[in-house]
């Protein structure tokens, strides 16, 4: 892991930074480093790593039969998750919903990112502010707002009614409603990295393509899209992870008809007290999120280097 460069604010400094922070390499600095870091490290080891590790382990270390928990190494929880039709469908639905949310966010986010990166300063600022403000509004409020828009006597029905379309089908409590709200909630996490990538596309590349006779469509597919892949490679796995792990939005907008993994974990642990099964489902959620992130870091990263090397 390259460390310092990951922090915000460092990119501006360019190559001078690692040298500056590499600056003291004495044993005193080693001791000081550990002394400064040790409170946070101990706190996180005890209150983050230990609890999460324990939960992940419990999915293998115990099983519940008719309400009685027996310890011992087992794959029973995982067998149940994959073999039971209901649970398998929820796993699939979670993966599908997260994939859809990531893709829709990329499509919807592209024009927004373009304006943030290329628009006049006031416009870019306006779009950024409008995008980020909802992040500060509690997720319960945002989901509630969507349910008010999508419900049978909400904004959309009212608008359609005004247009003379009576009794339109309500999409509240469907997967579409969950998808719309998820994209809305996590859109900034797609747009901002994408805008960063678009801003870094050298104008000369587009000009060269124009001179070589490429039309707008060709310019988009051959120049702009490949060169904005670094932004997509950050945004897609981020939106996927956040959607897959969401609880509030699917619960308020999907109701009980299309639960996702978060709801299932909550039910297993808090309602049915089947901790080992809840733990196994948590492990599957972590695995799903981790797999997608690793795929993007690995494969896409390698392809990126090849594609961007050409440009």
């Amino acid at each position: 892991m390259t460390c310092v460069l990951q922090f915000p604010g460092c990119r501006r400094l360019g190559p001078a930074l690692p040298a500056a922070s590499l600056h003291r390499v004495t044993s005193a600095a080693t001791k000081a480093g550990w002394l400064l870091a040790i409170p946070a490290v101990l706190f996180l080891l005890l209150c983050f790593v230990a609890p999460v590790a324990q939960t992940l382990w419990l999915g293998f270390g115990a099983r519940t039969d008719a309400g009685v928990m027996t310890y011992g190494f087992t794959f029973e929880n995982y067998r149940r998750a994959f073999a039971t039709d209901l649970y398998w469908r929820i796993l699939l639905r979670t993966a599908k919903m997260a994939t859809w949310a990531a893709c829709v966010a990329a499509i919807v986010g592209f024009p927004l990112a373009w304006v943030v990166a290329r628009g006049r300063p006031w416009l870019s600022r306006l779009v950024t502010l409008t995008l980020v403000t909802p992040l500060l509004v509690n997720v319960v409020v945002r989901s509630y707002g969507w349910s008010a828009i999508l419900s049978r006597n909400g904004l959309i029905s009212w608008t359609l009614g005004g247009l003379g379309i009576e009794d339109p089908p309500s999409i509240l409590y469907t997967e579409a409603a969950v998808l719309i709200a998820s994209v809305h909630v996590f859109l900034p996490f797609m747009v901002l990295p994408l805008a960063g990538a678009i801003a870094r596309i050298p104008p000369s590349a587009e000009q060269a393509a124009t001179i070589a006779g490429a039309g707008p469509v060709q310019r988009f597919w051959r120049i702009i899209l490949p060169l904005s892949l670094p932004g997509l490679a950050v945004g897609l796995p981020l939106v996927f992870s956040l959607t897959a792990a969401a609880y509030v939005t699917p619960q308020i907008l999907g109701g009980n008809f299309s639960p996702l993994l978060g709801t299932l974990i909550q039910q297993q642990v808090l309602t049915l007290h089947d901790w080992p099964f809840g733990a196994a489902l948590s492990t599957l959620l972590v695995a799903m999120v981790l797999a997608v992130n690793l795929v993007f870091i690995g494969i896409v990263g390698r392809r990126l280097r090849r594609w961007t090397a050409v440009a």
Binding site: M1, V4, Q6, P8, G9, L13, A20, S21, R24, A29, G33, W34, L36, A37, P39, A40, V41, F43, L44, L45, C47, F48, P51, Q54, T55, L112, V115, R118, P121, T128, L129, T130, L131, T133, L135, L136, V137, N138, V139, V140, V141, Y144, G145, A148, I149, N153, L155, A181, H184, P188, L192, P203, Y247, I252, Q266, V269, S282, L285, V286, N293
Partner: protein, 264 residues
């Protein structure tokens, strides 16, 4: 580099911005309706529902719990995060990469999993007291935001100034208060505000650890949505929207911190 935006693109973006704002505006519109049920478009005008929700004892208790939690979790995260950021940016020590991964870990593991892990951990230890459990959980998720923000500020501060102070005979404490602190203060303020927001808005950790006495505001709102159908819920939502708008103004205008850093 800025250029003219062609009008079809401008139209699409304008429409998208309207859709983005809509779910924040609709609760505000519904909250002023003087009907005893929620209706769109609102009928009549009243601010009565704001009074109803603001004097509701349960809402008040939840608000107090949320504010106390956010305040204490921010303090704890700053106390643990600032020294850790200094170690990460200023010192090379074995295991530095591992420390960095550990500190940013709570951003990687889904919050819902961290929450269920903490619940199980606390019940295994036989620990009582939901407030303390919530405080620990919130501090865990706030630390990465503080460390990132303070590291960013530290990385832009010039370490040779610290050397100069050392050569001139200043002790570590004096170097920190007179040289480092003035330079990292904006980063600390930003990190503190982000931590406060993360804690105040948290649902995914709180849903596991809360009990009836320590019931943070987001959980109260979630429960109220399913229980009550009068516009007081819309009023509470509207108040939270106004609170967020106030925060944006404070962050952008008052402190000059780019609001987009919240998402990064």
């Amino acid at each position: 580099m800025s250029e003219r935006i062609p009008w079809p693109l401008a139209a699409v973006v304008a429409l998208l911005l309207l859709i983005i704002v809509a779910p924040l505006v609709v609760p505000v519109a519904m909250s002023i309706s003087d009907t005893p049920y929620i209706v769109f478009p609102p009928e009549g005008f009243t601010l009565e529902w704001y009074g109803v929700i603001l004097t509701d004892p349960e809402a008040q208790a939840s608000l107090r719990v949320s504010l106390e939690l956010a305040f204490l979790a921010t303090l704890l995260a700053l106390a643990l995060g600032i020294p850790c950021a200094m170690a990460l940016v200023r010192c090379r020590f074995p295991g530095r990469g591992a420390v960095l991964a550990l500190v940013l870990g709570p951003l990687v593991v889904p919050l819902i999993v961290t929450g269920v892990g903490l619940l199980q951990f606390f019940s295994m230890l036989g620990m009582r007291g939901a407030f303390l459990q919530l405080l620990i959980g919130h501090t865990v998720v706030c630390i990465p935001y503080v460390v990132r923000s303070v590291s960013g500020a530290l990385a832009t501060a010039d370490p040779t100034q610290e050397d100069a102070a050392r050569v001139l005979g200043a002790g570590p404490l004096r170097i920190f208060t007179r040289v480092i602190w003035p330079q990292i203060r904006p980063g600390v303020v930003a990190g503190g505000i982000f931590a406060f927001i993360i804690s105040f808005d948290d649902f995914a950790i709180s849903m596991w650890l809360a009990d009836a006495r320590s019931f943070p505001l987001p959980l109260f709102l979630y429960a109220a949505i399913q229980k009550f159908f009068d516009p007081s819920i819309a009023a509470l939502s509207a108040l939270m929207v106004f609170f967020a708008l106030g925060l944006v103004l404070l962050i952008e205008k008052g402190l000059g911190i780019g609001v987009r850093r919240i998402a990064g």
